[in-house]
């Protein structure tokens, strides 16, 4: 048969998928790009034309450098190729410069940098248990490759919206793969490099810390899986510490030497932003906001509240702004930090930090199980996903793109167990849909729908084939919820713009989208959380070790 021919050459399908998606990315070069395009052009310009000491002070453009130093060096490297395309893009005062050569170069840089991602995906596939003799389309490694390489979120965020997530996730996945292959030093090194490329990955740093401490620095466990205190290896800890610290030293060292550390940090962690982005990410706070809104409307209606005393809530505005809650208490950054920490720490399996959080553990006796049963690389992955999702759910000023940090690692789990596959489907479909408002131009409307359908149909069909035995992956309620996205899309993007409310309440579709998606994401989070608490039976499946 036709399909058999490619299979004779064992890995050729991987290159076919990688090349195919690269072709698609090339076709998208002329598509809409967001202000992030200008952000990165500005960084190219300022790293190219200014001395290092100026990088974190330069403020000609409003899009100042707010990524860690290694990413600045990455841009610096790119700028030396950029000058062969168009020198004008490297001039700092050339704001919003976007000549065809500039667009071509920037787009190509994203596409080429994705090679790192391809390599990482290939390495991740090696960690999977391979079912021999199966049809190509039913192979876990094939499915995983498509789920990662053709990921809808990555395609639209990187290759239409414009960012370098593919490259960054490449480093992350490669580090995960190295841990699965028991090459922990490399994994730790890669992750610390990643932290110095983009600090948003700090959210999942606890998972790494605990995992390395529990499963790597403690060389042995008791027969029942609990911690063996005497097996602690100081050497390993010291080497790990050296690796991480030296990476940070290389990255931040020059700025510390220049005495610019406070300035750099203030750029990296701007605390002046509001709880939610202009478009609410579909997390707990979207539900909180809508509850607040509902209470205030009801309150005014039943004369429990005085409309003049309510703070003027504006959700329609542009960039970054603060949102005052009317009825429910306003949420401070500290509160979300606590929430985030709680949600992460409560969920850390394999961790000895639990000794510090005894009270929490007492609240949830189920956690003891996990505490006693380190689950290897699988447990680590699960913990990582929970960290990413927890921080997304409760984080301060979370952007909807941050959800990809949970989806991509979850893909690895999805091809491995049917329970995770169900969660993956719920989470990926919902949160991918929540990315739709990123592309608001009419021109990109068909392409985002086509790509979304493409990815959703593939993930549904392939995971269904993979876990053929044992009934449906999604229960009727979940199916209904997911199908509800179709009328939601029709209303938000086709019907609503034709109505008279479009002018008076232009934000309503966005609000509807984020609240609807928040329900799904919250549900997936709860399911993942529960599956974590009850996963003791699945510990035998330590495939990823």
């Amino acid at each position: 048969t036709v399909m058999a021919a490619p299979m004779t050459n064992d890995q050729s399908w991987f290159y076919a998928l990688a090349l195919g998606v690269s072709f698609l990315k090339c076709l998208l070069i002329n598509a809409y790009h967001s202000t992030d395009f200008e952000v990165h052009r500005n960084w190219l310009a300022l790293t190219h034309s200014l001395p290092v000491s100026q990088w974190y002070y330069e403020a000609t453009s409003e899009w100042t450098l707010d990524y860690p130093p290694l990413f600045a060096w990455f841009e610096y490297g790119l700028s030396h190729i950029a000058c062969f395309f168009d020198k004008e893009m490297l001039v700092v005062p050339n704001l919003n410069y976007a000549s065809p050569a500039t667009v071509l170069f920037q787009r190509l840089s994203v596409i080429v940098a994705d090679v790192v991602f391809f390599y990482a995906v290939k390495e991740c596939c090696k960690c999977l248990r391979e079912d021999k003799g199966k049809d190509l389309l039913g192979k876990p490694s094939f499915i995983l490759t498509v789920l990662l390489l053709w990921n809808f979120g990555l395609l639209i965020v990187d290759h239409i919206h414009f960012q370098y997530n593919g490259f960054l996730f490449g480093v992350l996945l490669l580090s995960i793969a190295r841990h699965c292959q028991n090459r922990h030093f490399e994994g730790a090194f890669l992750f610390s490099v990643l932290l110095n490329l983009k600090h948003i990955y700090l959210y999942i740093a606890p998972a790494y810390g605990i995992y390395l401490l529990r499963c790597f620095c403690f060389t042995q466990s008791n027969a029942d899986g609990s911690l063996q205190w005497r097996s602690f290896s100081v050497v390993r800890l010291v080497i790990l510490g050296t690796i991480v610290l030296s990476t940070f030293a290389v990255s931040f060292g020059p700025f510390i030497a220049l005495g610019q550390l406070p300035q750099v940090l203030s750029r990296l962690f701007p605390f002046k932003r509001g709880l939610c982005h202009a478009y609410w990410a579909p997390n707990i706070w979207a539900l909180y906001n809508i509850a607040d809104k509902a209470f205030s409307i009801l309150g005014v209606k039943f004369r429990l509240l005085d409309i003049n005393k309510l703070p003027k809530a504006s959700m329609t505005g542009g960039l970054v702004q603060e949102f005052q809650h009317s009825v429910l208490p306003s949420v401070s950054p500290l509160a979300t930090l606590v929430c985030t920490l709680l949600s992460i720490l409560v969920n850390l399996p394999n961790s000895n930090i639990y000794t510090i959080f005894v009270i929490l553990s007492l609240l949830q006796p189920a956690l003891f199980k996990i505490w006693h049963r380190p689950n290897g690389a699988r447990g680590f992955l699960r913990c990582l996903v929970i960290c990413a999702l927890g921080s997304f759910m409760f984080g301060w000023h979370v952007h909807e793109k941050a959800i990809m940090m949970a989806i991509l690692p979850l893909s690895l789990l999805a091809v491995d167990s049917r329970k995770d596959a169900g969660i993956f489907l719920m989470l990926s479909v919902t949160s991918h849909y929540s990315l739709f408002p990123l592309l608001f131009t009419t021109q990109e409307l068909p392409i985002k729908i086509f790509l979304m359908l493409l990815f959703t149909i593939f993930s549904l069909a392939s995971l269904k084939t993979l876990f053929r035995k044992g009934g449906a992956l999604l229960n009727p309620l979940e199916v209904t919820y997911l199908l509800g996205l179709i009328p939601l899309e029709l209303i938000c993007e086709f019907v609503y713009p034709l109505t008279v409310w479009q002018k008076t309440f232009p934000f309503l579709p966005l609000m509807l989208t984020s609240v609807y998606c928040a329900l799904g994401v919250t549900y997936a989070f709860i399911r993942l959380y529960i599956s974590l608490l009850t996963c003791s039976d699945t510990t035998k499946k330590t495939k990823m070790q």
Partner: protein
């Protein structure tokens, strides 16, 4: 995975590629005073919307035929009219008489692209899917792979979504015609093909095989009673369809004559050129029919005798614009007809690629270099990978028996299939080199047209080779049992 999900994935990928190509430039973008095909289509909307039917094809005070006058059959005009109504709803400026000439805006481009996508989804894509599922041999996955390659065929995508035309309508209708004939619904087939003919007169090139096949079938049934009745039914269908399409023009005998004059501008000296290409595309198409019915082989033979002169005419390419659409039409049929010979896919990939290459100068002019490179590479890669062409190109499968006999006399130790493979890569390399030079190098001052001429010479050589090859295949080959079974 189930078939339905595979099919929907293929279709979605095809749609994605189509829409992604449509982000790029179109013919004549920002090039007054005449602009390009895009403006022609928009102008037809303007004319059909604002003028009464009897003025459409006439040079009047309101209708300047020298500025993209309607020169397609009535169905195209009606299609333009329907589009114009939608355009009027969205933005009246788009179809305003006179004032809208050369109208260009981002939202208008979107609208025009959307109309192409709409017709494509409505007519062409379902026809391709049905075609692959009824007329391609092999497992269901093989069928899906074939459909995938046809859907991603870059020539059509680039012309329709880059350059801007509605080829998917006429091609799709003609394909529905083939489907109808293949399934034995002769009336439906002839209806669909008549519609195709009334959409684009270019489909005339394909009409002879249709005619031959249907006539042959009637003769086989016996012209005295059953066959005759069948013939009457078919001709009635064709006539009624024609009459319906031409109804508004039948009131006055001047009208249809003027329309015909517009469709076939003999006065402008185009006719010969068109005919030249007719024979070429016919020759290839006939092959399908011979597989379908034995009777038509006689016709094919007669056509073959005309071949040398038509080849000679082919070598003088004029009026690039016209030829492009033409090449494209016959090309899609090339592709379909190849599916009948699915074993000779190596040649498909090469041929398709070559015809496609010959469009390079035009696409360069339209500023479509990037999608051109990407889609052609993607297609080449896909067809080689999915259909694993190179692995299948053994001698018998390529039907090289005749050449084998010929060469064995002179060079007994020659391995033909290896030569073909080398030739394939050599051709590809030559094409890549030519593309590269025509994009990045300046031609010498003495020969400004050097690269376009080289491209067309090289393409022509390949066309020539393919025509000889297909004639040989057609003539030498014994009837294939499977396809016979299907048609009976």
């Amino acid at each position: 995975m189930e078939n339905w999900s595979l099919i929907s994935l293929c279709v979605l990928l095809g749609l994605t590629a189509r829409w992604a190509v449509s982000f790029h430039s179109y013919s004549g973008a920002g090039k007054p005073p005449m602009f390009g095909d895009y403006e022609a289509q928009r102008h037809w909307q303007e004319v059909t919307y604002n003028l009464p039917v009897h003025e459409w094809y006439f040079n009047t005070t309101n209708n300047d035929l020298n500025y993209w006058g309607l020169d397609y059959p009535p169905l195209t005009a009606y299609h333009s009219l329907v589009c114009a109504y939608v355009a009027k709803l969205l933005n009246p400026e788009w179809v305003e008489l006179y004032a809208s000439r050369g109208y260009e805006s981002h939202s208008h481009k979107l609208f025009m692209r959307a109309t192409v996508l709409f017709t494509d989804i409505l007519i062409y894509i379902p026809a391709v899917l049905l075609y692959c599922f009824y007329f391609c041999d092999g497992s269901s996955k093989q069928k899906v792979a074939t459909a995938f390659c046809i859907l991603l065929y870059p020539g059509l995508i680039l012309i329709d979504y880059g350059h801007f035309q509605y080829n998917s309508v006429s091609l799709g209708l003609a394909l529905w015609g083939i489907l109808g004939l293949g399934l034995g619904w002769d009336l439906f087939g002839s209806l669909a093909f008549t519609l195709a003919l009334n959409y684009k007169q270019m489909e005339l090139y394909h009409s002879l095989p249709f005619f031959c096949y249907l006539l042959g079938k009637c003769i086989k049934q016996g012209l005295t009673w059953r066959g005759f009745f069948h013939l009457v039914k078919i001709s009635m269908t064709v006539l009624v369809t024609f009459a319906l399409c031409w109804m508004p023009f039948l009131s006055d005998p001047k009208q249809p004559l003027q329309v015909l004059h517009r469709l076939f501008p003999v006065g402008r000296g185009l006719f010969e050129d068109k005919v030249a290409n007719t024979w070429c595309s016919l020759n290839v198409l006939i092959k399908i029919k011979t597989l379908l019915s034995r009777e038509t082989q006689l016709f094919a033979l007669t056509l073959l005798f005309v071949l040398p002169s038509s080849l000679k005419l082919l070598s003088k390419p004029t009026l690039w614009q016209f030829k492009l659409a033409l090449v494209n039409t016959s090309l899609a049929f090339f592709l379909f007809s190849f599916q009948v010979h699915e074993k000779s896919i190596l040649l498909v990939a090469l041929l398709v690629f070559f015809v496609f290459r010959s469009m390079l100068p035009l696409l360069l002019k339209d500023g479509l270099l990037l999608p051109y490179v990407v889609t052609s590479l993607a297609f080449l890669f896909l067809s080689l990978y999915l259909l694993s062409a190179l692995e299948r190109s053994t001698e018998e499968e390529l039907r090289l028996g005749l050449y084998r006999k010929l060469t064995q006399r002179w060079l007994p130790k020659l391995n033909l299939s290896r030569i073909i493979k080398w030739k394939f890569w050599f051709s590809l390399a030559a094409m890549a080199a030519l593309s590269f030079t025509s994009v990045w190098l300046k031609p010498p001052a003495k020969l400004p047209d050097l690269f376009p001429v080289l491209v067309s010479v090289l393409s022509f050589l390949h066309f020539l080779g393919f025509i000889i090859y297909f004639n040989q295949v057609q003539l030498m080959e014994p009837q294939r049992k499977k396809s016979q079974k299907k048609t009976n």
